[in-house]
Amino acid sequence: MAQQVLPLRFRILHLLSDNESYSVDEVMEALKTEYMGEGQFTRPLMAVHLQSLKAVGILEHSEVYFNEKDELMTKFKITEYGFSRLSYLPKGWNPIAKSFGA
């Protein structure tokens, strides 16, 4: 049975449950097969989601740097609090990492 499509923010959280750091573009690239074509799947809205998840303590900034175009880039990773929220993911969407920081 195909896994249900998660709400976009839940899917972002699941993606980051591998404890790795992701930029906005990397999240877009990873999720494009599932959400491409939807009006909400835009870079500005994705940036809002990541910032919003940071604002409630689920994500945090992990890296900040300038890219080759001298644009400020940030990366996000899941926090311990955010990892604890993974228990609210539906069945079939287990966290990628076994524990926070693993």
Binding site: F41, T42, S52, R85, Y88, L89
Partner: protein, 335 residues
């Protein structure tokens, strides 16, 4: 070549700018909620809401009918916003999750329970007075969190709660002169239902609601509230006929506008949370009690008493203490 230190400095400046813009959204959320309440009160000038009765059954019927209209219009505007921003599919996806169901449960407390009390408070005591009392809902949430979430209350929060209670007493001490609100105290008592309902909803938010897209969550919340009103509350409390009749009178335009202000307030509130943090966003949001006094003065002929202003200021100050340490609130570098 720009260094890591340059990048961190630029990020800090970016976040500070973000936080300042977030304050503006916080002000907008408070102002629009205050305006929502006042416009809602103006709808009570029109039939079928302009019924002068001291029969509780009639009061409740009018309250549920107007609250159903408010949440229905609010959900309607939010749905179009979410449709326009490509998020309509998120409604069903979110409802299939546990946090989504918690949003619906919270909607029962924040919707039919709270909004009915709120509606009755606006009708019987005037928007400016009702909103002043409901602004202490975070204090109720803090108390409930002790029992439900086993949270500890720090001294600052105790002082804030005490200020809220004192402020509520001050607001209620002297009702507005004249015979415009003969059931003032009943209205203020029913406003406490809103305070309780929103406080419970705040506690339920601890169970995963912060994972959900807030614009979708509030859309689901308002839609759930309206459905429960329409299917259950209106028939039980004899409000169905009043609800439909209101669509044929001048009340319609006011309720549609009040619902729009409510929708904008919620959207602005979540933008403020994203940009400037939960504590500051909520602190600015509860200034709605003060905005309701300003808009009540500008748009209606309600009597603004010294007690109302002083009491509202005390409640607002107390609620801010409940929400956050004032020093941290003022330090925009800590978002």
């Amino acid at each position: 070549m720009r260094t890591q230190i340059d990048a961190k400095k630029m990020l800090e400046q970016h976040e500070l700018g973000h936080a300042k813009k977030g304050l503006v959204w916080g002000v907008i959320s408070g102002a629009t909620w205050g305006l929502d309440g006042v416009i809602w009160g103006m709808a009570y000038m029109f039939l079928p809401f302009a019924i002068e009765s001291d029969v509780l059954k009639v009061i409740i019927a009018v309250s549920v009918a107007s609250a159903a209209m408010h949440d229905g219009f609010s959900g309607f505007w939010l749905f179009w916003y979410n449709l326009f921003t490509g998020r309509w599919k998120e409604y069903i996806r979110t409802l299939r999750t546990k946090p989504g169901m918690i949003v619906c449960l919270g909607a029962l407390f924040g919707g039919p329970i709270a909004m009915t009390g709120y509606s009755a408070g606006i009708m019987l005591a005037g928007a400016s007075y009702a909103l002043a009392v409901t602004a202490m809902y975070p204090a109720v949430g803090a108390i409930l969190a002790v029992f439900i979430l086993k949270e500890k209350i720090v001294p600052r929060v105790y002082i804030g709660i005490a200020m809220c209670i004192l402020g509520a007493v001050v607001v209620n001490w002297t009702p507005p002169a004249g015979d415009a609100y003969p059931m003032f105290y009943l209205g203020m008592g029913l406003s406490l239902l809103a305070t309780f309902g929103w406080g419970v909803e705040g506690v339920l938010a601890a169970y995963g609601m912060d994972m959900a897209d807030p614009d979708v969550a509030i859309g689901i919340r308002q839609a759930t509230s309206f459905v429960v009103y329409f299917v259950l509350i209106l028939p039980v409390f004899a409000g169905t006929a009043l609800f439909f009749e209101a669509f044929t009178t001048g009340a319609l335009g006011y309720m549609a506008l009040a619902g729009l202000m409510g929708a904008i307030s919620y959207l602005a509130w979540y933008r403020a949370i994203n940009m400037t943090g939960v504590g500051r966003a909520m602190a600015f949001n509860v200034t709605y009690a003060l905005w309701a006094i300003v808009f009540g003065y500008l748009l209606t002929d309600i009597e603004i008493t010294t007690n109302l202003v002083v009491g509202a200021l005390i409640i607002t100050g107390g609620t801010i203490l409940v929400l956050a340490n004032p020093k941290e609130l003022l330090n925009l570098r800590k978002v």
